[in-house]
Each structure stands twice: as structure tokens, then as C-alpha cells.
Homo-oligomer: 580 residues x 2
């Protein structure tokens, strides 16, 4: 989107040859990825060349006489962020409004928190992901970081205000220094829409309502089929106990299991045994469970009949919870959306009970063939749902005919990436107290459960559908254009517009004092304004104006509109616009 | 809001004596400020003592056995930021929604931009205020800063997309490392609501519409009387030429004039002559003009009759502009809100034409007596308007009986500060091009004019009025509470709620499987829920429920509600709730 001035003669050759090198590297990187080889050295070389190119371009622009004192730079938003143009902003507003309506139906109020928190508030809450936190510079005051999610701020808010219960929703931007995949809604600055309930309840009552809210939301957003993968931390931890995982390895083995949606079992087992030092027999015992998935009750029965597993109190507690949960989910008519899935582990450390992740048919990378090395999933029935979970950056196994597919600035072909999960959450009973205790307050436990809807993922799905349907969206809501003929003074158009504005009618007119007629019609058409009010000297003298409904670009057609008395105009237009 | 554990015995005396010192300093600082003496040394001492106290407290807590590994810290939001609790969040939403409606009436679309920009985008745009910009830490990628306003991002957007015209509004948070005055809506993170028009127009057409939008907005927000101070950069610059200000001192002298709403003329003159090296005679000539203010046409006539001033082309251009402007403002019915004020200069360097600032009766510090040293304002008529402009941190001249008034953490008594201006803006014709040229694009000029509404100031005014009227605001919108009597299972309440949710009715119920009846009524009352649907075994068996309208806390009253057949409940409730 920026234009470089022509580089100075001497730099020409160098810049051109660097560009050639970069193109060659891009092709090479693509080949490597498609054959599943490591391309990181080539990617690093390409980045270094691109940085060098930027410097050369700047120097060359300076040499070719850019204005003294101006530092040429690139007009862009920071990596991983973007502007929302009017149509995009409007679509997001629609998404927020839909979700807000559902959250309000479920007895929630909203809060807002600052976009940055004290550094120590966020520290230690995100496990391995902590390296993705944006810090503010030390400018002599408190050290702060940009919020990574809306959950930790919520827990801080509850602890800070000494609350024992709260039902809240929060729609706001969060910040992660991740590798962006812009076309699939994976950005560094992005909106989340969270719904959480803090406070005690009888088992699974709030948990089931949050899942009901999740399903209502995804259905209302009309994005097509989706599945909610669901599991329970206690069952997973119980499986680990049964398999013989040492207590200090629980979290790290859990993190390995979580990769099963991206990696084949062979790779995950390798990570557990070789990287993380787990006994192979233990890994195998884990492997017998984590491939299990299916509709709620069917897998539940299978687990209940497993005496060894039911003999582990932690696992039994989780399984009992799931039984109650499914009963409530059936009343809520959402049980059929659930896939009880033993491979779901979720990265974040603070989950203590149920965990869930919603996936969509576009979540997986396009055209991904099933992996023969994954232990045949012991689905207890012909399964449901769409997609196979959260994909990572692994390349598509399908050969691509088009070898010149565009790579993003990290050397990744975004068309091979899936959207990933579109919502996720779980129960986290200790987070509020982590704050209360750290602040020196002795407080009772405030258990929490919630869900976060990944708005940007949803947005990119809706965008793809919209493009497919070729829908056109207005960026404005303007209803009436005031057009002046025959030298009618601008003050007359302003006066007329004032009358409409005073009555809540969205109105515009040309900013020229003496505009040409075709230019005025063009403004009305370009902005797709449905009504035009034509002011002409003779009619004005009689207290009349002509109002014409716009139908496409045919303003030269037979329809000359209706003559309306000026003092009737507001009523006339309100009726046409469908307002009392 | 955080509790410190009792300090260890040895630290007791030290902590207590430091607290005594701090209290004594607070009293001293207050005395100094009230007698208009410099208290900065005392303020620094107090801050140092407070910091030392924090350290001692932490050490003492650690010593008294706080959990190993826990670093005790304070549960708070960063300085100058705050959470919006539900009632506050709701009130802000109402403000945004009101403003958005007006912006949409005026043919604008909305955009959103990232909360941080590349550092070079913001650099050099804010003059002396640049030191107030928050930077992101250098974490190995691009250097970024948090946006300081919404105007520079807009200009960047227009330049980046190669637009020649756009009418946009933008409601979003901005960031300034200023000294906060929280109770008066002066914060480090705060919302702005901006309306700007980029693009060419005939003289003053867009300028007048923006002022019309400003007045519509402030009137719709119903905050009481307000005045819009208005001036023109060309007139000011013309006055400086006439007075003999050297060209290189124009901006810095302008910055001095801008302080006339906070400082007496004597101080401003001193700054011009002593600090900034202006000739005293030149300063005096400036002084003859900058005290002038009054309703539009009257001051305009006075200026037009000033031959010397009209002989300066720059000044004449500005005065001619004002004449056209007032003509349009009269058509728009907002001329009476304007105060044409020669002392308005505005800090930001990028203004090139008209500039304006809206003030409210609460803008000035409370009970500020007129300053005898200000040259008697040559108001050309008994003036209008409220307040005397934007106050700074200068102390109130009124003696305060209460010597123990609370000081904020910077040692400032917030009750002596005014809210300041509540909206501001102007014409800025060169900003878009500054970006285009810096990026090496040769582009035609894209002139802009706009206004920014200071939502937090407006919010704090509305809050003060609300407290005065003792209005109570709900944080939720829940409409129906489902109450179970006589051991009705939770699934029955869930099923009933599901029926209501499926029909868009906002519904809640107790999270207990077997809740006590008084606790259920309490939940309905605490949340001020207008309708209660009572499920009881006998009635349920007959397919009936009882629906009761809540009137205050009198659920034990005679009104037992109406019996309604379950399949009629939705229609019954929708009618009661005023929905088709």
C-alpha cells in the first residue's frame, strides 16, 4: 500500500538482485514445507534480506531527494493488527450486538477493564504462553503489560472488589505477540467476547448454562455447523494417575496431549517419552484413553464401565460431574452439539474442571487427509461434528498445483491454515483466590466458569460466506440526500437538512455552494442513499419539494418522484422509512 | 481496596512514624497550595515516603509469614485507569449510543484502528505533548506506541488508503501519560468520540456542519448549559504578525496565549517576555486583542472595523471565513452557543483554520473568584456562556474551612479542579499530506475538519447530576426470575427458562438444586427483576404456572400473581414486557 520512490541509480542493481533472491527463497520455502522439511533457516535468511531491503530502499529514497527532514517510512499498521474499514466495522458491530443480546438474556451485566494491567497481575498466569505478552516500556512509572485475555482481568476485578458472585460479559480487545495468520482471523490485536459466572452453584448448574450460552451464540451467528469438544480436567488427571504419570509431570504431559489435534499420536508419544522423559509403558497407557471420543452418554457409559478408571477418585469425580452435566445439557437441547473428547486438554494452567472448545468446518486446514499413524479413534458411534480441532502451522499434505501461492511475511502460505477453534473455555476455581491471597486477603473460594468467543475467527468465516454469496454491504446509514437545482442557495439545502436532522432523519448534501446536478446525483448513488429530496426555485416558492425514491442508478428514468409540501416532508419521509 | 496483613513487630514503629510524617506533609502541602506557594518539594518528599512505606509493608508482610513464593502486591488498576463497573459501563454505552446516532444522521461511517501504532506514525505530531505518549517495550519487533488520539490514526488511514474524502466517526480509547484527576474525568486511559470530515468543500461548509454535530451532541447528552469557544488560527497568526512576533516564535507564543484560561494575563505576559524572549511592546499589542470575546457577529464587526488588522492578509482571510461560518451556523440554529474568543489558541500544532472548545458550567474549578490582574475582558456585549475555560492544577483562591480535604496520590485536592473542556477540535489541512509525503507518495491536499467529544468529562458531569438526583441504575436487564416451590426439580426450572430464552426473554433462576424460597425471592429482588414465574408441583401437574409482577420488595403482599397456562406463558410475558 505504500509506494517507494524510484531508487537512485547505484542502488538499483542491488535492490533488484535482493528482490530476486527473496523470490527464490519463497519458492524454496514452499517446497520444503510441502515435503514436511524444516524451512526455518531459509525463513530466517528471507527475513534478513527483507530487512536489508527496507534499509536500502530508505537510503535510496533519501538520496533521490526526498524532502529534507522527512524520514521516509511505510504507512502501515503494526504487524498482526489491522484497521476495520466501515463494512468490516459494521459486521463486527453486528456480531457484538448479537452476542450481547444473548448474554443479557442470561442475567449478565457488563464491565470494562483497562487495556493494560500491572505486570505482576498477568505474571505467572499463562504458563508457556507468557512469552507472548506485550509489555509497556519502563517510562518511570509502574510496569504494565497489555491484557492477554479478559479472564485474568475479570478474576482481578472480582478479587479487588471482594465479590463472591458475579455474572458478567465483556467484549474487548486483547493482545498476543503471536505469529499472525491474518486471513484466518489470527491476529496480535483481536476482540474477544467473554461470558463468565463467578460464584458457587450446585454441581454443573453454571457449567451447563455457559455451554447453553455458547451454543445459542454460535447458532445465532449463523456460521454453519459446529461441534463443541468437551472434557474434564479431573478425568484427564485421573487417567494420568492411573497410567502412572509422576505428579510433577502432569502439566507438561497434559500440554503434550493438547497437541493431538495438530500432531499424530506417534509424534505426541515421542514428545512425552523422549523430550519429557516419560516411561514408554506409561505413555502407552495414556494412549489407550486419549483417542476416545463420541457423543456424551455413549462415551460416559464406556468410562463408567472401566473399573480401573472408576477406582481413581479424581477420575470418578470428573465422570460423575459429566453425568450431571449431560442431563442438564439435554434439558437445554444442546447435548447433540457436544463431542466428549479425551484428547482435549487445553493449554492454560488455570482450568480445574470442565474444558471445552468449539470447532467449525473451517477450523481444520483445507483438504487435510486423515493421518494413518493416529490410533484409530475409538469413536463409540459414527461421529458427528466438523473438523478435527485446532490446527497449527503444519503444512498441508495435499500437493498444490500452484507453486507461486502467496506466502505471508513469515513465509507461511495462509491458505493452508485453518481458522482454528472459534470459542473455548472451562471452569477455573482457583484464579480469583490466587489474587486475593497474593494481595494478603484471606478470602473464601470464588469458583468461576466461562467461555470466550473468538470473534475474529467468526468474522473471517462470515467474510468467506459473504464473499461466496457476493453480498454487498453499506458502510453508512444515510437515508435522504438533499439535492439543489437551478441555483438554489446552499443555505436552503442546509435549512432543509436541519429540519430533517431535528427529526432524526439521516441526511446529507453536496459540500459545494453551487454544485453541478450530475455530481449531486452521483453522490446520492455512490452512497446508496434511498431517497432524494429535490429543491428547485419554482417549487420552493410554492412551499413544495419533490421526493424521489432511488432505485439503482436510474435517476434519469420516468419516475420524477412525488411533490410534497414542505411542512409535510418529515411525516412523509418517516412513513416511507418505516418509522412512526 | 487491599488489606495489608499486620506488620511484624519490629517494623511497627517505623511504619507508624512514616504514616505520621505523610499525614503532616499532606496538611503542609494543602496550606502551601492554598496560599499559592510552590509545594513541589513537599510533594516529592511525600511520594518518596509513600514508596518507602510500600517497601516496608511488603517486607513486613513477608516476614509475618505470607505464603512462601507469593509476592504480596496491591490489587489495583494502573495509575490513571479504572474499571467500569456495570452501572458505569451502561451509562457510557448510553453516551456512545446517543453520539453514534447523531454521527450516523450526518452521513458518517465508522472505522476502528489498532490501539497502538508504529512509533514513527505518532512521532512529531503532538508538539510538547509528545512526552505524554506511552511506548511499548522493545521486544525484538517493530517499535510501537499507544495511540494518543483518534485524529492522527484517521489521517494515517486516509493517507494509507489513498482516499480523497471520507466522513467517519470513531469511538475508542486513547492513552496519555498525564497527571490524572480521576474524579473529574481526567485519566490516562479514556474514551474519545470523534467525528471528522476529510475532503474538499466550499469554504466553511464542513466546518459549520461539524459545529452543528457538536451542538446536537452536547444538547442530546442533556448535561446542562454549555458554550463553544471558537477562534481561527489565521486570525491569531495575523494578530501576531501585526504585533511583530518573529515568525520562529509563532507556535511558542501561541502556546502561551492558550494558557489564558488558566493563568492571569500578567503571568502569560511574563512567560512571553521573560521565558520566551518576546519584546514587551509586542506582548502588549497582543494583549490588546487576546482579551476580546463575545457573540459571533458583534466581535466580527469590531474586527472588520480594525483597519490595521484587516490589512494583514492572513487575518483578513480568517475573518472572512468567520463571516461565512456565522451565516451557516445561524441557519443551523447553533450560533447562540458560540463565543468568538480571541484567547483560544489550542495546544496542537496541526490546526490550520477554525479551532473550538466546548465548556460547561463545571469546567472551571469550583468557586473561582475573578482575577483582578486579567485585563478587563472587552466583551462586546453582556456575555453568555459558562465557565472560564480549561483550568489547570492551579489552586483555588478560596480559603477552605476543611483543612483535611483528601489529596490524591500526586498531592492534589481534586475538589478544586474543574472538569475542563468537554469537547474540542478544529480544521487541520496538512496532516494527511504529512503522512503521504513521508511515505513518498505525491498526493493532492486532503483537508480535514473534526471534533472530539470528551466522553469521560461528560460522564463525570452526568455522574454528578445522577448522584444529586439520587437516581438508581440497574446493571442488568433480566426480565423474569423462575422460582421453584415445593421441591420442583432444577430441570423443570431449566426447561422453563429454555422456553423463555428461545423466545428472547431475559431469564434467570437460582443455581441451587434445592433452593430455599426466601433466598430465591431475595435473588429476584436484589437484581430488581420485574417478573417472577412460580413453578409449584400441583400447578405444574395441571400445566399452569403463576406469574407475579414485582413491586418493590413486597412479595409477601396480597398479590399472588396470575395463573397462566404454560403454552400461553411466552405470549403473556411478551405482552407484559411491551413486545409484540
Amino acid at each position: 500500500m505504500s509506494h517507494s520512490s524510484a531508487p537512485a541509480a547505484g542502488a538499483d542493481t542491488t535492490i533488484a538482485s535482493i528482490n530476486d533472491e527473496i523470490s527464490a527463497l519463497q519458492v524454496r520455502i514452499k517446497e520444503l514445507k510441502m515435503s514436511k522439511q524444516d524451512a526455518s533457516a531459509e525463513i530466517d535468511s528471507m527475513k534478513a534480506l527483507k530487512d536489508h531491503l527496507k534499509v536500502l530502499t530508505k537510503e535510496s529514497q533519501a538520496a533521490s531527494g526526498a524532502a529534507a527532514g522527512n524520514t521516509n517510512f511505510v504507512l502501515k499498521t503494526p504487524k498482526g493488527t489491522l484497521d476495520h474499514k466501515p463494512e468490516a466495522a459494521l459486521l463486527r458491530k453486528k456480531i457484538f450486538s448479537t452476542l450481547e443480546g444473548i448474554f443479557l438474556k442470561h442475567d449478565a451485566s457488563t464491565i470494562d477493564t483497562p487495556v493494560f494491567e500491572l505486570k505482576e497481575i498477568l505474571a505467572g498466569k499463562y504458563g508457556e504462553d507468557s512469552k507472548l505478552i506485550y509489555d509497556l516500556s519502563d517510562q518511570g512509572g509502574e510496569l504494565c503489560s497489555l491484557r492477554y485475555d479478559l479472564t485474568v482481568p475479570f478474576a482481578r476485578y472480582v478479587a479487588m472488589n471482594g465479590l463472591t458472585s458475579m455474572r458478567r460479559y465483556h467484549i474487548g480487545k486483547v493482545y498476543r505477540r503471536d505469529q499472525p495468520v491474518m486471513t484466518k482471523g489470527r491476529m496480535r490485536e483481536f476482540y474477544q467476547c467473554d461470558f463468565d459466572i463467578a460464584g458457587s452453584c450446585d454441581p454443573m448448574v453454571y457449567d451447563s448454562e455457559v455451554l447453553r450460552v455458547l451454543c445459542e451464540s454460535l447458532t445465532a451467528l449463523d456460521i454453519g455447523e459446529y461441534t463443541v469438544k468437551i472434557n474434564h480436567r479431573k478425568i484427564l488427571d485421573g487417567i494420568f494417575q492411573l497410567a502412572g504419570v509422576p505428579a510433577d509431570k502432569t502439566r507438561t504431559i497434559s500440554s503434550a496431549v493438547d497437541k493431538l489435534d495438530k500432531l499424530p499420536w506417534a509424534d505426541v508419544k515421542k514428545e512425552m517419552t523422549i523430550e519429557k522423559g516419560l516411561d514408554e509403558a506409561v505413555a502407552d497407557r495414556i494412549g489407550q484413553y486419549v483417542g476416545l471420543k463420541g457423543p456424551g452418554y455413549e462415551l460416559l457409559e464406556k468410562l463408567k464401565s472401566d473399573e480401573a478408571l472408576m477406582g481413581v477418585p479424581l477420575a470418578k469425580a470428573g465422570i460423575d460431574d459429566m453425568e450431571i452435566l449431560f442431563r442438564y445439557l439435554k434439558v437445554y437441547n444442546v447435548l447433540d452439539k457436544m463431542s466428549f473428547d479425551m484428547s482435549l486438554a487445553r493449554g492454560l494452567d488455570y482450568y480445574t474442571g470442565i474444558i471445552y472448545e468449539a470447532i467449525h468446518e473451517s477450523s481444520a486446514p483445507p483438504s487435510r487427509a486423515p493421518d494413518p499413524s493416529v490410533p484409530a479413534p475409538s469413536t463409540v458411534s459414527s461421529s458427528s461434528g466438523s473438523g478435527s480441532g485446532k490446527p497449527g502451522k503444519s503444512s498441508s499434505r495435499k500437493d498444490k498445483a500452484d507453486a507461486t501461492a502467496t506466502l505471508n511475511e513469515d513465509g507461511v502460505d495462509e491458505s493452508t491454515i485453518g481458522v482454528g477453534s472459534i470459542a473455548a473455555g472451562g471452569r477455573y476455581d482457583n484464579l480469583v483466590n490466587m489474587f486475593s491471597e497474593a494481595a494478603g486477603n484471606k478470602k473464601e473460594l470464588v469458583p468461576c466458569v466461562g467461555v470466550s468467543v473468538g470473534v475474529e475467527r467468526v468474522y473471517s468465516i462470515m467474510e468467506m460466506r459473504r464473499k461466496a454469496n457476493q453480498e454487498k454491504v453499506r458502510g453508512k446509514e444515510t437515508e435522504v440526500f438533499v439535492l439543489g437545482l437551478g441555483g438554489v442557495e446552499i443555505e436552503k439545502r442546509m435549512e432543509f437538512a436541519t429540519m430533517l436532522w431535528d427529526n432524526g432523519i439521516k441526511t446529507s448534501f453536496s459540500p459545494k455552494t453551487n454544485p453541478k446536478t450530475p455530481a449531486q446525483w452521483k453522490q446520492a448513488d455512490d452512497d446508496q442513499i434511498p431517497y432524494v429530496a429535490i429543491l428547485a426555485p419554482k417549487e420552493l416558492a410554492q412551499g413544495l419539494v419533490r421526493i424521489k425514491a432511488q432505485v439503482g442508478k436510474d435517476q434519469a428514468g420516468d419516475d420524477k418522484g412525488e411533490e410534497v409540501a414542505i411542512d409535510q416532508v418529515v411525516g412523509y419521509l418517516k412513513e416511507k422509512l418505516g418509522r412512526a
